[in-house]
């Protein structure tokens, strides 16, 4: 039995579907929406819990901050069999009153991590169908736009920023797995229950499922 080096999760406990939650956001509602919940790993900045939604297994992982750390989690999960992954993080905004979630259609690659997977010319884009599932479910309550992924959040960014999307998208492409991200407003604490269910349904839908 092989344990993933940084996540501290047995490889056999990793299902195809995973949700990664940025430090500072609560994964309570995601985990509470699942049946058969069990903590399966607790190491470094990572806390992993398995569960099922309508009989399909999902892993919910509390991760740290920043692409270098979060991509380690993504890589280890993919090596153990994860195939559909959504990262939930916070949007950092020019307008701090922005109250809507964002489903990024792509990300500006101001991060370092993605450059160690692909030349800068390669576009950081989510899996189209997975992000469409999120976009469709959010409807008017979500914004569809580019975000800028950075390693150091700017004082006066001109677009919404985050810490992971670009890296997640590029690594997803490099590994041939479906990745999408969802950004919640900066002052968010918990993921609201309907949104938690949307995310879980999206990652457990079969590959290629469209809205």
């Amino acid at each position: 039995m092989t344990e993933l080096y940084h996540l501290g999760v047995e490889e056999s406990r990793v299902p195809p579907a995973a949700v990664l939650v940025e430090h500072g956001l609560s994964s309570d509602t995601l985990r509470e929406s699942l049946g058969d919940g069990e903590v399966v790993g607790r190491k470094r900045e990572f806390r992993s819990a398995s569960g099922t939604l309508d009989g399909r297994a999902v892993l919910v992982v509390d991760v740290g901050l920043g692409a270098p750390s979060t991509v380690i989690a993504l890589e280890e999960l993919v090596r153990a069999g994860a195939r559909r992954i959504v990262w939930v993080g916070r949007r950092r905004d020019p307008d701090p009153r922005s109250s809507q979630a964002i489903v990024p259609i792509g990300a500006i690659r101001s991060d370092g991590t993605s450059r160690q997977y692909a030349p800068l010319a390669y576009p950081a884009l989510p899996d189209f169908r997975l992000s469409s599932l999120l976009r469709e479910a959010l409807g008017q309550q979500g914004e569809t736009r580019l975000v800028e992924t950075t390693d150091v959040l700017g004082d006066h960014p001109s677009v919404a920023q985050d810490l992971c999307s670009a890296a997640m998208f590029v690594v997803g492409a490099a590994r041939g797995v479906d990745v999408a991200t969802l950004l919640l407003p900066e002052m968010s604490g918990d993921v609201e229950v309907p949104l938690a269910r949307t995310i879980l349904h999206a990652v457990t839908a079969p590959e290629g499922a469209a809205p």
Binding site: I105, G106, I108, A121, Y122
Partner: protein, 243 residues
């Protein structure tokens, strides 16, 4: 800078189909009603007509980013807000079949034109509504399409004969990266078009049929009827969704 003055000739068209090859304009125009010629000059052949009750321009761009940006910028200045590139390309990743049609979600910016519009870190991304419309259209036509990233290049011979380039090693290393990243097709116009749309607040997408010059040896090219039908059905789907 050279400008093409298309102004009144496009007569309020909001949608444009952009083939690279001037010869493809007529085949796309077969799907339009009330076709009126606009221009015929070298690489630039354009007509306008009606699709789904709305006015649509079909304009060739010639090959490559520079002429594509000239045409798209001129059309945009005249009122076009939605652009669909309709073209051919070569296969990149293993498993991309001859004559398969690729619906582009984005493009590798392996070209110089987009640098004049967006910083290098910005993605060349197709507008999701255009991608959705193409998928709806493919469903209606029962066409089995592939969806993903295309590679846009400035050097044709750099792709098909990299050993002929003084920067052969660089080109081969880049090509290996595109294959490993699952890039589907290689062509020459999508990235600058997508970058222009992002910079100007327009919408753009691309449908590309695999017409591999090298691996197609011995294979009979069946023409672009399905590609043209898909492109026009995509615009119909957009017109319908926009209504």
């Amino acid at each position: 800078m050279m400008r093409l003055d298309l102004g009144t000739a496009i007569d309020g068209s909001g949608y444009a189909l952009l083939p690279g090859d001037p010869g493809r304009v007529a085949r796309l125009a077969e799907h339009l009603d009330a076709v009126v010629p606009i221009i015929e000059h070298g690489p630039f052949v354009a007509v306008r007509g009606e699709l789904g009750g709305r006015s649509v321009v079909v304009s060739s761009t010639g090959m490559g980013g520079p002429s594509t940006m000239l045409v798209a910028d001129a059309l945009g200045a005249a009122g076009v807000h939605t652009f669909l590139r309709v073209g051919g390309g070569g296969p990149v990743a293993v498993g991309v079949q001859f004559e398969r049609i690729v619906v582009a979600t984005g493009a590798v910016r392996h070209e110089g034109s987009s640098e004049h519009l967006l910083a290098s870190s910005w993605p060349a991304v197709a507008h999701p509504s255009v991608v959705e419309a193409a998928l709806v259209a493919a469903g209606v036509l029962e066409l089995d399409v592939q969806v993903g990233v295309v590679h846009t290049k400035d050097s044709f011979f750099g792709e098909i004969d990299p050993s002929s380039s003084p920067v052969e090693d660089e080109l081969l290393a880049a090509w290996t990266a595109w294959c490993r990243l699952g890039v589907l097709a290689s062509e020459m116009e999508a990235a600058p078009l997508f970058a222009l749309a992002t910079a100007r607040g327009w919408r753009a997408g691309a449908v590309v049929k695999i017409n591999d010059v090298t691996a197609g040896a011995g294979k009979q090219w069946s023409g672009d009827e399905d590609l043209c039908a898909l492109a026009c059905a995509t615009v119909r789907a957009l017109v319908s969704a926009d209504a």
